[in-house]
Amino acid sequence: MKYTIEPLGDNSMIIELGQDMSHEIQQKVKKVSSFFEENKFEWVIETVPGFTTVAVFYDPLKIKTTTLPYDEVRAFLEPLLEKLEVDGDTEPRVVEIPVCYGGEFGPDLEEVANHNGLTVDEVIDIHSNGEYTVYMIGFAPGFPYIGGMSEKIAAPRRSNPRLKIPAGSVGIAGKQTGVYPIETPGGWQLIGKTPEKLFTPEGNTPSLLQAGDQIKFVPISEEEFQKIEEDAR
């Protein structure tokens, strides 16, 4: 596998696997992340995937060396990373996210439709039929950076950001779509809301989604929304 390694700080480094956001590089990021998960090196504190990178945070005191910790770790990793190859596409996990579009849950749905010269139903149809990949989780706990939205429903951010966007809101900003896991301020155009919890701090895995997942948005009615929400209680 081709890569470069560079320090991030004096106890972290970044393995870069390419320059562009693409399926191929995403597969490499996934491969390198699982390499660290499988090996559980005791000097690794954690790894954090980016769009084209994997950052490794380590404990310099757990690295036995006569030189410096970074040199040691780098020399150790290089031959291992070189041998690493993406062995065909591994089947991604598909996660279905139910979304109730429009109404009070998606106050900007009409604006997105108008902006693109579409009807509200057409926007829902395009959004819920897309094939989406989670590139990484960041910005907020459980927040997925999603690639794959059709440009037909792209819409600029709101000029006047909302101070409070409720958790579960599904939005569009430029050519991106996303779901807000916790209540935050933000400028995304809101088209709907999911009753599903994306951030569960009490669980073993605090995030519903992980880098590499595939997402399917499934339209649901307001009644179905309420039923799912009640069942979760």
Binding site: L8, E46, V48, P60, T205, P206
Partner: protein, 337 residues
């Protein structure tokens, strides 16, 4: 038990941070000044990762409901017990019913209050740190409020010995301070324009030669738009050679990133897990405590240091901290023989 009678500006329960969950977008949180926090724990016989209270600029008022071994380290926020000033960087035994108050901020920005046995709050994702925005961890996921009651955990063997040494000297007083303190090497300087060592960031080469130079020759001021998440600095404008788009990648404690308007932001304890702005520099871990003690209006001078030197400084400092911890235990053992 400790009862809060005035919350202060921003008082929260923090430990060394929540690690292992950044891949899920969960920020690390944790103390801003790790050195002061660790020493505060050493002085009361705790493990260094035990939670302390982080106090900001205007400290809280509180009442001790039981005899408690405490220490206060970091910035000097003028602590006093029942009207009498309390020394920083020492083990202090406080009797039940005593009231601890903080006055004005004399040096630094944040103080750490450790209690023997630590704060008995549940761990969330392996950490007691308060994650303010998500409302989890710490005491009910929030900064401390008036009337909050904090339970104290079980003190260690060493904690009991330190308390015993102090109890013998207490007499009729409400509190008693240990006669010895730690070496001044560990106590941050109160220079008016401290120097902070910085290694070049991953996108350092993207910046104009002038910007690269100014990062290390000019000084920067901490603006009022600064908090636990990051410090926005004001100084010479830092510009890219040409506009370049960056894909988001991981950032770290002390990353100096530069948004397009040219004013750098230093990312701190509550930073997001990833960032999409070019990174011009990265503060050496050993100097993060200096940065964390700056308050709005303070100035800082960045000094270039190589990645190799930054690593060596870290190893040397960790060795010294380890020796300090051993030294405290040894001294207590001698005094309780």
């Amino acid at each position: 038990m400790i009862k809060i009678t005035k919350p202060g500006l921003l008082t929260s329960v923090q430990d060394l941070g929540r690690y292992g969950f950044q891949k899920y977008g969960v920020i690390t949180s944790g103390v801003m000044d790790t050195t002061a926090h660790r020493i505060a724990n050493y002085l009361v016989g705790n493990a260094e990762n035990e939670a302390t209270l982080e106090l900001t600029l205007l400290g809280p008022d509180m009442e001790f409901r039981e005899d408690t071994l405490i220490s206060i380290c970091g910035g000097n926020l003028s602590p006093s017990i029942d009207g009498k000033p309390v020394k920083l960087w020492r083990s202090v035994l406080v009797t039940a019913g005593s009231k601890l108050k903080f006055g004005g901020c004399k040096t630094g920005c944040r103080a750490y209050l450790a209690v023997a046995g630590g704060f008995d709050v549940p761990e969330v994702m392996n950490s007691k740190s308060t994650y303010l925005r998500a409302g989890i961890g710490g005491h009910n996921g929030k900064a401390l409020q008036n009337e909050d009651e904090l339970s104290i955990g079980e003190p260690s063997e060493l904690s009991r010995k330190i308390a015993k040494v102090l109890a013998a000297q207490l007499g009729e007083n409400k509190f008693v301070e240990m006669q010895w303190t730690i070496s001044s090497d560990f106590i941050g300087s109160s220079a008016s324009k401290p120097q902070v060592r910085v290694i070049k960031g991953r996108q350092y080469d993207w910046f104009t030669t002038e910007s690269q130079m100014k990062l290390f020759t000019d000084h920067f001021e901490v603006t009022s738009q600064s908090d636990r998440m990051g410090y926005r600095l004001k100084g010479p404008e830092l510009a890219l050679e040409e506009k370049q788009e960056m894909l988001s990648e991981a950032v770290s404690f002390g990353t100096i990133q530069v948004p397009s308007e040219g004013n750098p932001i230093v990312l701190l304890a509550d930073r997001q897990t990833t960032g999409g702005y070019p990174k011009i520099g990265q503060i050496a871990t050993v100097d993060l405590s200096i940065m964390a003690q700056l308050k709005p209006g303070d100035k800082v001078q960045f000094v270039e240091v190589s990645h190799e030197v930054a690593q060596q400084l870290y190893l040397d400092r960790e060795k010294k901290l380890h020796q300090l911890k051993q030294g405290i235990a040894l001294k207590i053992r001698q005094e309780t023989k």
